[in-house]
Symmetry: C2
Subunit: 218 residues, 2 copies
DNA sequence: GTTCTTTGTTAAAAAAATGAACAAGTTATT
DNA sequence: AATAACTTGTTCATTTTTTTAACAAAGAAC
């Protein structure tokens, strides 16, 4: 139970995965689980699980293990997904459209309260039950609604100017789908990048490495 | 120049980022750059850049630095994005549609040669200039075309069965957009996960941590 | 030809992640 | 009630990764 000092990023990144596995176990009707059993299901070590969880508190009991529903809720609390921070989306193109309709924001701590675009053909259309708003009304909207997170689904070349403007309008975090690197640009602004192009290139490297080693074996 | 021993994953994950910065510099017409200058632009140390690049070979020259175009090409070669591995997409829903039309596969080492779905309403429609094929013809298609990578844009509950089948049909890598954890399931199969839900939860954590520390300051 | 720059490389130190071990508390069994 | 079997929280050790520093060697600039 050491909430005082900062928890490392890799630990945080593992929390959603724990959450997913616990949800599945919960839905299977299983009540308790030991770190050992969970570790085997998840492909980790029991030690790592116990240490990860212990960054936030002792949720288990000796001889018993962890109560699945309780641990599931605790991790939800740690992640803060029970709160509903307001999010807006900038860019309602192909990708924005898919993100807006595909993701369950409400299960992950957010409310998607506005979708903006500057394309006259898109403004006014419905995306996942929400009407796409004119980007010109963004400032007005932000002053009224005070969203904290912006989802950037715009071409990379417009990322910097949009991000600067959004920060000035009170945005405190970005879900960044552009290639542009927002990190290190602002002080106290959270940035979560989804660089799909980078991800695809990484896969490319892995594939080529596999076929290289195939050739070596022959 | 130590190509013998395995290069660590974090290094590989940084390569696409170097590639992006170099492309930008190239487009600006800049010819050469030192590790020091690049480090300042990218928010890294010069030492780290030199060490990363040196995993693959000596691409620079003392007193000169790196030739941007050459380094750009070298990193492309390392990643293998000049080859064109065949990829297929499974699932042409919202997300699949967006991925297929939004990403430039051909710049990242892949050719998207087939898109499959089992929804009769989607089969036969065009997605990014490609006709969506019937999932029932997948086996036949794979035997003829021999794709190496599958992009999974299907609901998580169908991920396991589809992945097993695809591996048996010769697929050697997955770009996995489902929540399902494919890792550790097969031996020599590359998996690149894009867990959007996890990413959003991580952002949620960061946002809440920021506002917590705001409250502490007050 | 001298000075300046900057790499590739090695080494060392620091930080972070992972794994092993165990006392102490809980549950199950006899 | 006593004993055995489990399993956590926690500490310590190991491994991995990152960071930093240093410097000979080689090209660039003047």
């Amino acid at each position: 139970m050491k909430e005082n000092n900062q928890v490392s990023v890799p630990v945080i990144k593992r929390l959603p995965r724990y959450h997913r596995y616990l949800e599945e176990l919960k839905n299977l009707g299983i009540v308790r689980i030991s770190s050992k059993e969970l570790s085997m299901r998840m492909g980790l070590t029991a030690s790592q699980i116990r240490q990860d969880l212990n960054c936030f508190g002792g949720f288990g009991q000796q001889g018993y293990g962890y109560n699945i529903e309780q641990l599931y809720n605790e991790i939800g609390l740690i992640l803060g997904i029970n709160k509903r921070s307001k999010a807006i989306m900038i860019g309602a193109g192909n990708l924005g459209h898919a993100i807006a309709t595909h993701l369950h924001f409400e299960n992950r701590g957010f409310d998607l309260v506005g979708i903006f675009d500057n394309n006259k053909n898109v403004i006014g259309t419905k995306v996942g039950g929400r009407t796409v708003l004119d980007a010109d009304t963004l400032e007005e909207f932000c002053k009224a609604e005070k969203p904290v997170v912006a989802i950037l689904c715009i071409p990379s070349e417009y990322a910097a100017e949009n991000a600067d403007k959004l920060v000035s309008l009170g945005i405190r975090g970005f879900w960044n789908f552009t290639q542009y690197d927002l990190m290190h640009r602002y002080g106290d602004v959270a940035v979560e990048n989804v660089h799909l192009g980078d991800s695809l290139m990484t896969l490319c490297y892995q594939i080529n490495k596999l076929s290289d080693s195939d050739e070596v074996q022959k």
